[in-house]
């Protein structure tokens, strides 16, 4: 009798968990196809498409100090991470999510969203980052990488514009 009850509650619990999982999967699915209107990614002029060099170039998966190219890239993000946590080894013109899905550079927010879910949610709502355009209509989103250099994402200090004149300076 007791056993049966326990089994029943186990089944109920399992069912509940499963449905939770499904609802997660569903919301993830709803998220992925949605494209946000963004300005072009802030590439260094001339660097894209990456395939202009990388097509046919052997892939070197070993974490190392780059010496022939991209020397300016010093990873100061995700301790222990490496280029191919984000870039796609086989087609360098795409980014790669942890589940293997390839995305374009115009959708790099999905890459960031894997680890920064809360920020991504607030970005979609217009709270984190910036939207321009119409407050009551079509909006353009800045990509995360317009503000955060992905290899060293801390926002860099900038020069302030001049302070107001003091009353004593006004003739």
């Amino acid at each position: 009798m007791k056993d049966k009850k326990r089994r029943l509650s186990l089944i109920v619990a399992l069912f509940f968990l499963l449905s939770l999982l499904f609802s997660f999967a569903e919301s993830a699915e709803q998220d992925i196809p949605k494209k946000f209107f963004v300005p072009p990614p802030p590439f260094t002029p001339g660097i894209f498409p990456c395939s202009q060099c990388h097509q046919g170039m052997p892939v070197n998966r070993k974490p190392r100090k780059l010496e022939q190219m991209h020397q300016e890239i010093q990873l100061k993000h995700m301790p222990g991470g490496w280029c191919f946590d984000c870039h796609n080894p086989d087609n360098r013109d795409k980014l790669r999510l942890a589940n293997g899905q390839l995305i374009s550079f115009e959708e790099s927010y999905y890459l960031c969203a894997q680890c920064h879910g809360v920020v991504f949610r607030e970005w979609k709502a217009g709270l984190h980052g910036k939207r321009t355009g119409m407050w009551n209509g079509e909006k353009q989103y800045l990509l995360c990488v317009h503000c955060h250099w992905p290899h060293e994402p801390r926002f860099k200090p900038i020069q302030p514009l001049p302070p107001p004149m003091r009353p004593s300076d006004i003739k």
């Binding site: 407050w135 009551n136 900038i158 020069q159 302030p160 302070p163």
Partner: protein
């Protein structure tokens, strides 16, 4: 309701009789006689903006556009977009992001045709030391000028017109040259402002600015897209302030400061729209307003999106 109506009518009559007296009587002597052209007298007898019908407003706008064109040698469009139904504007400022770079201050100057010399800024960015008692606006520093911002140990708070639901400036104006529009924007009619500056004394946020002398901008610096109640050219002796960029926002655009902010600290939208970013901020962050105890009920919300 009735009482308020009665009061307003009385006040209007006050101003009318003052004008008539002035025109007929002693002040007439003080008026420059060479200014006897039609446009001058039209301006002088201009009705209160909210009492004019569309036809009358159109004529006023045409006259002002002509004046502006003569002065700046370029076409200046003075619009009169009305408040949209179902819209109440609200503003949010994320103090955990603001880095005090003043990009907003100068974007506002350019958009809204503020005088360069003498200098007028509608936005003032205040700097506070972290951890200190800081809501005291008078204790802040607005002349900070390091080589880089943000500075460790400081945070920054931009202040501009808070667009109060219950604006003390409006109540203090003896000529009703300033009022609150249906979309919540507090506006000024520069042709009715007599420059008494009672509103400046009444504003708890120090948000209003006075044109001590004729505002100065080079013609090429004039933003020709203007609104009668916003960024159209101003005169010596009138008060001005932030209008949430009425000339942009009534056309669906974001205010200039929102678009200029490099860190995305500035949020704007319709308080009546549950999907707006301002509603998201109010519902998901702990927001506060400046000097809440005064019951001015600003529509300008500050918050810390993270940390602190």
């Amino acid at each position: 309701m009735n009482r308020i109506k009665g009061n307003r009518a009385e006040r209007k009559i006050d101003r009318r009789t003052f004008i008539k007296g002035a025109a007929l009587g002693l002040a007439a002597a003080a008026l420059p006689l060479n200014k006897s052209d039609a446009s001058f007298w039209e301006a002088f007898f201009q009705k209160h903006f909210r009492e004019m019908n569309d036809e009358e407003i159109k004529k006023v706008l045409q006259r002002l556009e002509k004046e502006a064109e003569q002065k700046y040698k370029k076409a200046v469009k003075i619009g009169n977009e009305k408040a949209m139904p179902g819209v109440l504007f609200g503003y949010g400022l994320d103090l955990s992001r603001c880095i005090g770079c003043r990009r907003c201050v100068y974007a506002c100057v350019e958009e809204n045709n503020q005088s360069k010399d003498p200098q007028i800024h509608w936005i003032t960015v205040l700097r506070f030391k972290k951890g200190e008692k800081w809501v005291d606006l008078e204790e802040s520093e607005k002349y900070y000028n390091p080589s880089l911002v943000p500075e460790k140990d400081y945070f920054y708070m931009p202040v501009q017109c808070q667009q109060c639901e219950n604006p003390p400036c409006v109540r203090s104006c003896p000529t009703q040259a300033t009022w609150k529009e249906p979309d919540g924007i507090v506006v000024i009619d520069y042709n009715w402002c007599i420059g008494c500056r009672y509103c400046m004394a009444a504003c708890p946020y120090g948000a209003r600015r006075f044109n001590w002398s004729a505002p100065n901008r080079k013609p090429e610096e004039i933003n020709p897209k203007t609104h009668y109640l916003g960024n159209r050219p101003r005169y010596k002796g009138v008060v001005e302030k932030c209008t949430f960029c009425i000339q942009r926002t009534r056309n669906g655009r974001y205010p200039a400061c929102v678009e200029a902010c490099p860190v995305g600290a500035r949020k704007f939208g319709n308080l009546l729209d549950p999907n707006s970013e301002i509603r998201y901020a109010i519902e998901n962050k702990r927001v506060f307003r400046l000097k809440e105890d005064l019951n001015t009920s600003p529509k300008f919300y500050y918050f810390f999106a993270y940390g602190v």
